[in-house]
């Protein structure tokens, strides 16, 4: 194998696939990245057996071939090279890759490409759907953090993806909160589908979509065991999580007693201040909604109280309709939610201290975020 490519492209490509490199594995080759010539391009691939990412960059191929090299070392070496042409040459006998750039030469010992697991690709099937990358990226960013970070209930460590007609629906819930996002697609999906993607893979897909300009296509394997996301220069394959996702429609309350509309940025600031105290008292912040009269706006009061540290109270003006009331929430959930909302205003719908708080960015109907309260007695 012998080829030449640009340092910049190689660096970006290695960064893209690096998220699929296995951190710790009994299989040493999984800590490596696959380098392979592929029809006049250089293919980079990594997999941790749950997620596989493949990325292609332009290259001048002089000699075909393939090898795997330690991903981290290669990325570190390339990252420190000047922005110039890089030549990669494989010594087939020693499986050592020579990396030449400007006046620098490195030799990196690798493992034969045959030992690298085959990352499945789906070529014999039409994509299930095709999605605009920016929309996909935003939708993923708004739900993926609500997925469970542990595997105690496997389906909750995933993101539900539902494709039907011209709708993409994503949902994630760790048991204490639920984020759902509905996106209207420019054209109907080829085939309706519903599956659960591990949240880690979904976060990767979000990053890939963010770097992509063309549409991202989705293809589900016939058996339903895997899903392939394909953008112009990157492919992500992930195993799917088996099981039934909770019935999210049932969880979303259909009514409210109080609806408060607030400035997102003001609310985020007040929440940040309260969080400095809440962290010392089980993360509890209390939101008190006081409805406005005929003449003035209502008020939202945010307070946190830590017995040993101190306390904080913040007041915001807002349009508050309904009964008013109080709800106690985990400040971590509240800050993560506010971090994902770009709309200038956010509506908070509440019923009782024991019922969920429902958050909806104003002007973005497709996003609903639910946080269960903390019960304080």
């Amino acid at each position: 194998m012998k080829l030449t490519c640009l340092q910049e492209n190689l660096k970006r490509g290695l960064a893209t696939v690096s998220h699929a490199v296995a951190g710790k594995s009994t299989l040493p080759v999984l800590a490596n990245v696959l380098l392979a010539t592929d029809g006049g391009r250089l293919k980079l691939a990594a997999t941790n057996l749950e997620v596989g990412i493949t990325h292609w960059i332009g290259a001048q191929v002089q000699e075909e071939g393939a090898v795997t090299v330690p991903a981290k070392l290669l990325a570190d070496v390339v990252g420190n090279l000047p922005n110039d042409r890089v030549t990669l040459t494989l010594d087939a006998r020693t499986q050592t890759v020579k990396v030449e750039c400007g006046r620098f030469t490195s030799n990196i010992k690798g493992i034969e490409a045959d030992e690298f697991p085959t990352i499945p690709t789906i070529t014999d099937r039409d994509p299930t759907a095709s999605l605009p990358p920016d929309v996909l990226r935003e939708a993923i960013d708004q739900v993926v953090f609500a997925a469970a970070s542990d595997d105690s209930r496997p389906v909750l460590a995933g993101v539900l993806v539902r494709l039907r007609d011209t709708r993409l629906f994503l949902a994630a819930a760790d048991g204490f909160r639920l984020a759902t996002r509905t996106v209207t697609l420019p054209e109907p999906v080829a085939q309706a589908a519903e599956f659960i993607v591990p949240a880690r893979a979904m976060a990767e897909l979000g990053r890939i979509a963010g770097d992509s300009e063309g549409p991202v296509t989705i293809t589900v394997t016939p058996g339903g065991g895997q899903v392939l996301f394909h953008s112009e220069s990157t492919e992500l394959v992930s195993r799917l999580i088996e099981g039934k996702f909770p019935d999210v429609e049932r969880i979303i309350p259909q009514q409210y007693a109080t609806r408060s509309v607030l400035e997102t940025a003001e609310l985020a600031k007040a929440v940040k201040l309260a969080s400095l105290f809440a962290t010392a008292s089980q993360n509890v912040v209390k939101l008190t909604m006081e409805p406005g009269g005929e003449l003035g706006p209502g008020r939202l009061i945010i307070s946190a109280n830590a017995a040993e540290v101190g306390d904080n109270t913040g007041e915001l003006d807002g349009m508050i309709h309904g009964e008013g009331g109080q709800i106690a929430l985990n400040v971590k959930y509240l800050s993560e939610l506010l971090g994902s909302v770009k709309a200038a205003q956010i509506a908070v719908e509440t019923q009782s201290p024991q019922s969920p708080g429902v958050f909806k960015p104003v002007g973005q109907d497709g996003y609903i975020h639910i946080i269960m309260p903390m019960s304080i007695r």
Binding site: R177, L178, R250, I251, P253, Q282, E308, P356, S375, I376
Partner: protein, 397 residues
């Protein structure tokens, strides 16, 4: 409208449980408690043993000297708790207003039953005897203070060596007259010190307290004096507290022989902290302060306490605090008779509700219907007939 309060006290409860377990004990002098060789004390003495002067809380070694043929039975607390729970269930069957004050004592507010208190008491006593084979004494009065004293008075009138099985009723309006002849020390709040002080004033009976000018009692004893005066006249408006909130949870150990070894003392503290943490977790509580109690061989019992930065129910945090306090208070090699750890400032920590806690009204109605149907099936065919599938799986394994 006056209240009717019943105080129920099981007669020689631990001994009664042991007699059920081993009927040959009946009528013999025996005591439940620790071994006389160690530092065991009498937890409960049979009425036959009481005729020898054996009393609760007396060192077992002393009890054996008083009654050489005394049979010492090691306590079986799980069995007592089980029996106690059975009794409490009978009380709850009568009214929701039950305040359990110890393993063998409880108050009931039976005002709403609209029946004379004595009649309720007789029925209750008969039920407990018939269904559980246990004897109890009952006081009936218009408040908790007088009802409890009534039980004690009823018991004290029993024939020596026999189960009292007493019922003592104080009719409304006669509280002060009932209390008047009793010794001042029978009143709640009159400990040895107060009793001495009262005796110095020539006050010997509860009636003497009631007759003493309130202003003078208040001047001498402060708020406590006012309380005493009010109680002595038989006044008490404390309600039945149905769920007793624990103020602190603690664990202590009296060593059979004084201990001066640091490792052993620290190990004991660790084990106690573990136990306290487990209790907190079982009760769903967290505490904000940790208290260390230590008793030197001369019986002085200093305590040290510190406040935690955050409420906790974790063994590690409790252990750390207890060891810090221990190091402050313990001079190296000083013999220790008793050591204990407690957690106070208890509260219910905020609980994060889950999405599945939020049920729609329809779901709520469905669940209620299911519960009803289950109850009906169980009432007809027995509690075990309907079980969760998951339980069956476990059984097969």
């Amino acid at each position: 409208m006056g209240r009717t309060i019943i105080h129920v006290d099981l007669d020689q409860f631990f001994c009664a449980c042991e007699e059920q377990h081993d009927p040959t004990l009946k009528g013999t002098p025996f005591a439940v408690g620790g071994r006389p060789e160690g530092r065991g004390v009498v937890a409960s003495a049979s009425y036959a043993a009481r005729t020898f002067g054996v009393r609760s809380a007396m060192p077992m070694a002393h009890a054996v000297r008083l009654c050489p043929e005394l049979i010492v039975v090691r306590p079986n607390f799980p069995a007592y708790r089980e029996a106690s729970q059975q009794v409490m269930e009978r009380l709850h069957a009568l009214t929701e207003l039950v305040e359990q004050i110890s393993i063998d004592e409880a108050f009931l507010d039976v005002s709403a039953l609209g029946e004379p208190g004595e009649q309720v008491a007789r029925r209750l006593q008969a039920t407990i005897r018939a269904e559980l084979g246990l004897s109890c004494s009952i006081g009936v009065a218009a408040n908790k203070l007088v009802a409890k004293i009534a039980t004690d008075v009823g018991k004290s009138m029993a024939r020596s060596g026999a189960l009292p099985s007493a019922i003592c009723v104080v009719p409304p309006g006669e509280e002060a007259a009932f209390l008047a002849p009793l010794p001042a020390s029978a009143l709640w709040g009159v400990g040895p010190k107060t009793a001495d002080k009262l005796a110095g004033m020539g006050i010997l009976t509860i009636g003497d307290i009631a007759a003493w000018p309130l202003e003078d009692l208040a001047r001498r004893f402060g708020q406590h004096g006012e309380d005493l005066s009010r109680r002595a006249r038989g006044q008490d408006d404390r309600p039945i507290v149905t769920e007793r909130a624990a103020k602190s949870i603690s664990q202590e150990t009296t060593f059979a022989h004084d201990v001066r070894d640091r490792v052993r003392l620290e190990q004991t503290l660790r084990a106690q902290a573990q136990e306290v943490a487990a209790k907190l977790q079982r009760k769903g509580l967290m505490g904000t302060s940790v208290k260390l109690k230590i008793r030197w061989p001369d019986f002085t019992t200093p305590t040290r306490q510190l406040t935690l930065p955050q409420p906790t129910d974790e063994a590690e945090a409790i252990t750390d605090a207890a060891l810090r306090l221990f190091n402050q208070i313990w001079p190296e090699r000083q013999p220790v008779r008793l050591i204990g750890v407690g957690v106070g400032g208890l509260g219910t920590p905020p609980r994060q509700l889950t999405l599945w806690d939020a049920s729609t009204p329809e779901e709520e109605a469905r669940q209620a219907k299911l519960r009803e149907a289950l109850a009906a099936v169980q009432a007809r065919f027995g509690a075990g007939v309907v079980r969760r599938g998951s339980e069956l799986g476990e059984e097969q394994e």
